[in-house]
Symmetry: C2
Subunit: 252 residues, 2 copies
């Protein structure tokens, strides 16, 4: 466990989907904004990381449990702490609360250091993480491995100009958008996610197109994003009919 | 002229494009967040508008002059005021400044009231705009009319799930993304916009696809977004080679 940092975040019109619920990619962007603020407060911002070590943080995995997705206009509290680190990963938890103090989402993110020139992972320097006061743990925790999909449903998307971020590759938030989109409006109108595991395998360059592959097995969906014949990202999402959620939250 | 309201906004990683400059659609979303805050402060927020009149604000036109596009990490000041209104439109100006006080963008937005059920425009009630202290002006100002494009270059985009907002139609910010995208990476890497006129003609429903049409005439691009054979949005953008800008801003 490390130092805890939090910030209130108001959910804007543009961060919410047609059902008024926050878009998970927008929520993850807010989480990263909060962890970046903590890093700056501790003197370990992105500028320090680049000037001192020539490195950038990247996320490799997300594991999240979604109790309730907050809606447009709500002010949520995003709380974060670096839990532990080893040679290759720093594990950071985000707890998102509503104004009554109820836990909305519990997100574990795997951070790794990348050399932006060689695109290779770098060992995490002790000095870099010391201010967060989280323990070094030898064991390298990996997220649960997802099997390759056999005969998935495939949908192709051109990579758009605004999909690319300052790293010169597709922004992480886009993968989840392509995964969602492949499920279609009819499904997304009836189900809400309760558990989500997302793993980034390989960056997608500008231009060209990606293929969003998926299989639906009961109330679990499995996803792969393929780019240039290679696996770029994988995910497993567990869903629940929205009616159950409405009954649950009707007392709020 | 009316009451002035402003707010500082820090530009996040996700609001910036591959060149580190803010994405104009993200900047417009920030502008609307600021004007919504002013409305709430004056007791005329979106909830009041819906409960009292059953209406929502929509933007029909943007006219902007771009002196410099701010970059990732900058904290800008977004200042807004309702300039005047008539039966059908409220004209609102956004001035965006950098930390030295230099004017970055000057944006004029045309707001109109929409009945979300009938999708028809509504007359602006005096009571609704009184707190902004802007004058009623009889003359209905319209943005300069753009001619239909003859033999444009066409590109088709499927409408994605996350393109749709809480109004149940494509979010306004997407039109500009499709217009930009049609110009291609090579052009966008060499030019920056200096003037932009954008007019929304018709909402785009979920599903299906849109066609982004464009013509480039020297350093001016003309755009049309077509949906179901109808014109949904038009724009004219004036561009400048990035090298000229670099020379201009090298003293900053």
């Amino acid at each position: 466990m490390g130092l805890v940092y939090y910030q209130p975040v108001e959910l804007t019109f543009d961060s919410c989907d047609r059902t008024s619920h926050v878009k998970i990619p927008a929520l993850l962007a807010d989480c990263l904004m909060v962890s970046t603020k903590q890093s700056e407060q501790l003197g370990r911002g992105n500028d320090y990381l680049m000037e001192r070590y020539g490195l950038v943080w990247v996320i490799t995995d997300y594991e999240m449990t979604i109790h309730r997705l907050p809606v447009f206009g709500e002010t949520i509290k995003i709380e974060t702490e670096a839990l532990s680190y080893n040679k290759l990963f720093c594990y950071r938890r985000f707890h998102i609360y509503d104004q009554t103090g109820a836990l909305l989402l519990d997100i574990l993110a795997y951070f790794a250091l990348l050399d932006p020139k060689s695109r290779k992972a770098a060992v995490i320097p002790d000095d870099l993480v010391a201010p967060y006061r989280c323990p070094f743990v030898k064991k390298i925790q990996r997220s649960s491995k997802l099997k390759p999909l056999e005969t998935p449903i495939q949908q192709t998307y051109p990579v758009r100009y605004f999909d690319i971020d300052m790293n010169g590759h597709v922004n992480n938030s886009k993968y989840l958008e392509w995964m969602y989109d492949a499920l279609g409006d009819a499904f997304l109108g009836k189900y809400r996610p309760t558990q989500l595991t997302l793993t980034y395998k390989k960056e997608v360059p500008p231009g060209g197109s990606i293929t969003s592959c998926h299989l639906l097995d009961g109330e679990t969906s499995y996803h792969e994003i393929m780019s240039n014949g290679q696996l770029s990202a994988q995910a497993k999402i567990e869903w629940q009919p929205i009616s159950i959620e409405s009954e649950k939250t009707s007392d709020l």
